[in-house]
């Protein structure tokens, strides 16, 4: 054990090797990184974020404000508390100067999520939590008991108490093992409850393999997020000890008294050799005596009270420990760590007389009292109230089916916590409607001396508050809090934001109440009046990786592919995400090295569609079956144009607006029968359009007899485009009369295409002669392969589709519109019916705002240099040099392409009063340049529509 000079005799366990700040050390199985560092005499673990002051281990749990470390191996992880990192063989860590570094490589670990429901969720497996869970689970309730530590026991792990004659740790392990064996109980160790939301929805993170280091099995999720819906929650979350603000209270060697007790008892580590204890309450006496028993010399106990608990004073006297009543610690001193402690009568700090003493010591144990952990109770909507006896906030009124038990609601004795937990368990049973046992045995515990009242001291008065730290992690001192108050801030929320006290990743667990105390002191008011800052989730930091779980990479969002997808992949298509769909973007010509780039591919595909014949997989278009006797009336109310006059066998283009008159979606409407329409929507808007239809039908027009069904997935669609498309179709569908008179534009025919039952529509989104061939999805690939079989049809992707439609001035909803654009703005007055009495959006077209002459209109733009491609989103200004900001913008580019048909670049844009600007020169600021462009009609290709019929 010579390698661990501060390890107590008789400590057992496997020896683990680790490296910290480049030094090799040994620790024992069961250590945290903090206890192992203390065992090796490492006092300064990290340095502070703003002042760079050395900082040591201050606490023994998740409230640690100081000992921030970065794990380097096996996988980099920043900003962990040495007090919550379980030691493992091969751990490599470094102390942090307040901030960590993200890993420079992807995390190879898996993360997962579990959903669970229970009658009772008990948070915290200390005495109260074990008692509550035991009572509820033994009576048959579905119980989840979650605890953040590697083993159950809570406060019992750090004390030397016995229950039913067994050491606390052993008792807890036995109780929890028995609980875990019950069929309806689940025990989650190493599981921190992070957030408590509405209707008892609780989020917890279970750390499954972090403590195994490199030995972690790769197939096991490293962390698992538990999403628990509980009928009732019992918060047995215990308490956190506070410190007191005095000079040098951040020096390594200053430690919370309860933490030192935990290190001595649980980890068999001495946090120092010679200690001074500074306390406001009885709890530090138990720590002092346990440490004395462990071999630490207790030089003196400075108790701010005149009257400490008599039993404790007597026990100190027995051991010859000096108790300085009515005393405070005025300063911790030393170079880089504590070497002496200055004490004085409290009266002296308040201006009266008295002797100061400088006591040599390497350890200063502080207890400023204990605060119940009310974070989750507060998050759940419960109120807090100030408990004068504790000098801390305790749960008040609950807003949900939640209660606190044990110290979390201010019960201070072990027996009291066990009984309180059992009562909470009984209440949970009756709330769940289960039989409540009449007699509940509570384990026998040792006599606890009657407690003397604590005295609440927040700061030791001084002329210099420069090193009286309030928030150790944020380096906030009493001096800064006083400056904030001096600046006129009187709310702790404001002081928090002004000083940053309580905003570090420990969320002010040790500093929150202390800050309130110092502000109250400065303002001369009671802490009770001042309150606390708001408690927010997460209770402890959580990694994004854990929250993301499996929802990353291909599982981040569902991926939708069409029936023809494998053909596109095999052909080497590049894909574009359109909503959840993967659509072929363009098809570089195969077998070339270097491969064809996008510009060349798209120009080639466009030429094929305009001059020859080309095909696109259009299966992703949204398709909704609208059926019922009132279907025509219904569509008349939703579309701006008339749909009821459409004859079966025909097709009409339509636009839908929101009630505010702005374009919401567009597409074609196919009338299949008097009472049946097939509506197509834009690819990304299919679900929204179906929701829109359902909303109107269910909430406004329940009298209409109409059913809407999504059939997007049921159909596969091939758009066959180009002057030779008729000839190709005729060959594929010998039974179909394809001449223009037999099969005119905007009609549909049921036939067989390549032997497959098909519905062929004469629709064009390019201005060319074109057909959309629809077949059952099951036959989509076969149809596509049949169209492609002769090799004469060029496959094209979404980029070419975009260029072709833009050349014709066809807008894409969501690209050329943004929810502020009317059909009139798009130059589509013709689609807005004058005959219909009403339709959704009609009244808005009579608003003054929708007829302003300076509304943005959809126009075409031709850069004066035909080779310049404007970036989409570029703004447009009227002047050839930019005035001083703010620069008035006339509009912006919505679509911009190179056109094979026009032999130049072009763009579509929304421009203020754009239609009146035809021929005007505007400028697009692009980088440092102002690119001159000419405004034109938005229809740039074949404006007379001569190509439509082939």
């Amino acid at each position: 054990m010579s390698g661990q000079p501060y390890r107590r005799e008789g400590a057992t366990g496997r020896v683990l090797r680790f490296r910290f700040d480049g030094q090799e050390y040994e620790g024992l199985e069961g250590d945290t990184l903090a206890s192992a560092l203390l065992a090796n005499g490492v006092r300064a673990v990290a340095s502070s974020i703003r002042l760079g002051r050395p900082r040591g281990v201050y606490a023994a749990g998740c409230e640690e404000p100081n000992a921030l470390v970065q794990i380097e191996e096996p996988f980099p992880e920043p900003m962990l508390q040495a007090t919550t990192v379980e030691l493992y063989d091969g751990l490599v860590a470094t102390g942090l100067p307040g901030q960590g570094r993200l890993a420079d490589r992807p995390d190879p670990a898996r993360y997962d999520a579990v959903h669970a429901h229970c009658d009772v969720l008990v948070v915290g497996a200390g005495p109260a939590g074990i008692a509550a869970a035991g009572v509820a689970a033994r009576a048959g309730a579905r119980v989840i008991l979650a605890d953040e530590r590697p083993e159950p026991g809570g406060s019992l792990l750090g004390t030397a108490e016995t229950l039913d004659g067994r050491p606390g740790r052993e008792w807890a392990a036995g109780e929890v093992a028995a609980l875990a064996a019950l069929p309806e109980a689940r025990v989650l160790g190493r599981t921190t409850v992070l957030g408590h939301y509405d209707d008892n929805y609780v989020i917890a993170v279970e750390r499954r393999t972090n403590h195994l280091g490199a030995a972690a099995p790769a197939e096991m999720a490293r962390e698992r997020v538990w999403r628990i819906r509980a009928k009732r929650v019992v918060l047995a979350t215990g308490g956190h000890e506070r410190f007191v603000a005095f000079a040098g209270n951040d020096l390594p060697g200053v430690m919370l008294a309860g933490a030192a007790r935990t290190y001595a008892n649980r980890h068999r580590v001495l946090p120092g050799r010679r200690a001074v204890v500074f306390t406001t309450n009885d709890s530090a006496y138990a720590a002092a005596l346990d440490l004395a028993d462990a071999g630490v010399e207790i030089a003196a106990i400075a108790d701010v009270r005149q009257a400490p608990g008599e039993a404790w004073a007597a026990r100190c006297a027995e051991r010859g420990i000096e108790v300085l009543t009515g005393h405070v610690v005025t300063a911790a001193r030393g170079e880089g760590e504590v070497s002496s402690v200055e004490t004085a009568p409290r009266s002296k700090t308040q201006g009266a007389g008295g002797e100061t003493r400088e006591i040599p010591a390497d350890l200063l144990l502080v207890s400023g009292g204990w605060s119940p952990v009310v974070h989750l109770f507060s998050q759940s909507g419960g109120t807090l109230r100030y408990d004068e006896g504790l000098g801390a906030f305790t749960p008040g009124e609950a807003r949900q089916a939640v209660e606190a038990a044990g110290f979390a609601r201010g019960v201070t004795t072990l027996r009291g916590c066990l009984e309180d937990g059992a009562e909470a368990g009984r209440r949970a049973l009756s709330a769940a409607g289960l039989a409540v046992p009449s007699e509940i045995a509570v384990p026998a515990v040792g006599e606890e001396p009657p407690a003397a009242p604590a005295e609440h001291l927040w700061l030791v008065e001084s002329g210099d508050y420069g090193t009286h730290f309030v928030d150790l992690q944020r380096d906030v001192t009493v001096g800064e809090v006083l400056r904030a108050v001096g600046a006129g801030l009187s709310s702790v929320e404001h002081v928090k934001r002004y000083t940053t006290a309580g905003t570090a990743h420990d969320q002010g667990k040790t500093s929150g109440l202390l800050t309130s105390g110092v502000v109250a002191h400065a303002l001369g008011v009671e802490v009770a009046e001042l309150g606390t800052t708001t408690f927010r989730a997460p209770y402890t930091p959580v990694s994004f990786a854990a929250l993301a779980g499996r929802d990353r990479g291909p599982l981040h969002d569902p991926v939708r592919v069409t029936a023809m997808h494998e053909w596109h992949v095999a052909r080497g298509a590049l894909f574009e995400n359109v909503g959840q769909w993967k659509r072929p973007w363009y098809y570089p010509r195969p077998g070339e090295d270097p491969g064809e780039d996008m510009e060349a591919a798209v120009l080639r595909e466009c030429r094929a569609a305009r001059e020859d014949v080309a095909a696109m997989d259009a299966s992703t278009l949204g398709k909704i079956d609208v059926v019922g006797p009132d279907a025509a009336v219904f569509l008349d109310r939703l579309y701006t144009n008339m749909m009821s006059t459409l004859r079966a066998g025909s097709i009409r283009y339509g636009v839908m607006c929101r009630a505010d008159g702005m374009v919401f979606d567009d597409g074609t409407v196919i009338r299949l029968a008097d009472d049946r329409f097939l509506v197509t929507t834009t690819t990304g808007n299919a679900a929204a359009v179906l929701d829109w239809m359902e909303e109107w039908l269910q909430t406004e027009w329940p009298d209409l007899r109409v059913h809407c069904t999504s059939v997007t997935e049921q159909w596969a669609t091939v758009a066959l485009v180009g002057p030779r498309s008729r000839e190709v179709l005729a060959r594929l569908a010998p039974g179909l009369a394809v001449d223009n008179d037999s099969f005119p534009f905007m009609t549909w025919r049921d036939t067989e295409v390549a032997g497959i039952e098909a519905r062929v529509c004469r629709i064009s989104f390019s201005g060319e002669l074109a057909y959309e061939i629809n077949v059952s999805s099951w036959s989509g690939l076969a149809l596509w392969e049949a169209v492609m079989a002769s090799g004469e049809v060029t496959p094209y992707g979404t980029e070419t589709m975009h260029v072709l439609r833009a050349e014709k001035g066809f807008p894409i909803v969501g690209q050329d519109t943004d929810g502020t654009v009317t059909p009139q703005d798009l130059g589509m007055e013709w689609i807005v019916s004058k005959k219909k009495a009403d339709f959704v959006g009609k009244r808005s077209f009579a608003r003054a705002d929708t007829s302003r002459p300076d509304r943005k209109h959809l126009v075409g733009l031709l850069p004066e240099d035909p080779g310049v491609l404007l970036p989409e989103g570029a703004h447009l200004v009227a002047t050839s040099s930019l005035p001083e900001p703010p620069v008035p913008t006339l509009g912006f580019v919505t679509s911009s392409y190179r056109s094979a048909a026009l032999g130049r670049t072009f763009a579509l844009a929304l421009v203020s009063g754009g239609r009146e600007r035809a021929g005007e020169r505007l400028y697009a600021p692009v980088g440092a340049d102002l690119v001159p462009v000419t405004v034109t009609s938005h229809v740039l290709y074949d404006p007379e529509g001569a190509r439509r019929d082939g």
Binding site: D198, Y201, K842, R843
Partner: protein, 92 residues
């Protein structure tokens, strides 16, 4: 995360629902007869009370039915759910 009692499916997680804003804001009988201000009030103005609020929900990832709920916006407690077209229940 609310637990919302869908009148058709029972209590379900909030993630299954779409919010629809204030309930009982009917589409005007004759929009053409409204002044610009009245139409603007229908389009753009909604209540935002602290306390009980009748609002619309749609169980989009479940039965896809719209219904109304009376929720306390200060506590998130849902006091009642009822079907579209039914009057707002009186909450004591």
């Amino acid at each position: 995360m609310l637990l919302i009692p869908c009148p058709w499916c029972g209590p379900r997680d909030e993630a299954e629902f779409h919010y629809g804003g204030q309930a009982h804001v009917a589409y005007p009988e004759d929009p053409a007869a409204l002044s610009d201000e009245e139409w603007a009030r229908y389009l753009f103005f909604r209540d935002n009370p602290k306390g009980l609020f009748a609002e619309r929900w749609s169980h989009t990832a479940g039965c896809r039915r719209w219904f109304n709920a009376v929720r306390d916006t200060a506590t998130n407690e849902i006091h009642a759910v009822y079907r579209v077209g039914e009057p707002r229940p009186v909450i004591a």
